[in-house]
Amino acid sequence: MPHGDFHPVLFIIVAVWVLACGVGVVALRNIVHSAMAMVACFLGVAAAYVLLDAGLLAIIQILVYVGAISVVVLFAIMLTEQQRTGRGFYFNRQSIVALPLAVATFVLVTVVLVTAKMPPVSSHAHNVSLAGIASGLFNAYVFPFELVSIVLLSAMVGAIVLARKEID
């Protein structure tokens, strides 16, 4: 099995997995179940990165999304959860309009993508190597790299300031 080839069967399995878990996130009533579906969906996206021959992205996806963001989301659920029942509690009034809108957007974008004249694409994935990513991050992309680290630091400090308890 050479790297970068397109495997229809593996792709279909991953796609069905990702979409089923994604629908689970937006459709399940219990928000903890939604969070678990979100974790499964992130794992499916990591599998899609592996199919794209982007192993580093898959590892970072698992580390950041499955490892870190999911835990933060679960903490937020623990700190805020309320238990109630009834459809009106989970979905707002515009949810009836939202479903056809989302489906129409999907159909529109897909039709445009399939009929568009794209620049020549290969049927074989050319992935940038790990060394290429490293040298890119510290040469061409060094300014966004530093900028993003400042954003991350200020977000960390801001989250602590926002979420701490007021001391009277």
Binding site: F6, A35, A76, V109, V151, A163
Partner: protein, 102 residues
Amino acid sequence: MNPVDWYLTLATALFCVGAYGVLARRNVVLIVMSLELMLNAVNLALAAFADFMPGAAGRGTFFVLFIITLAAAEVTVGLAIIVANYRNRRSVQADEFSEMKG
């Protein structure tokens, strides 16, 4: 269809699922989770472009790395705001936050 089209179709579908969640759900934490789904869909599209377009020269990979970092920052600040708001209002229902409504 090219292989890249299949990946883009999957990314579009995931993006629309996330958009439906943002539009239709009331819980703010769930809206943030749906936003994460949309960001994942965009990342998937960028990774597909980076790998299948020879002219892209792998630039999409850098975009994905920066988007993941910014998504982590966004989710921490967003959830901190939600928790702080919950302390004041005892609610996480998006349509109950209406003080700024004219």
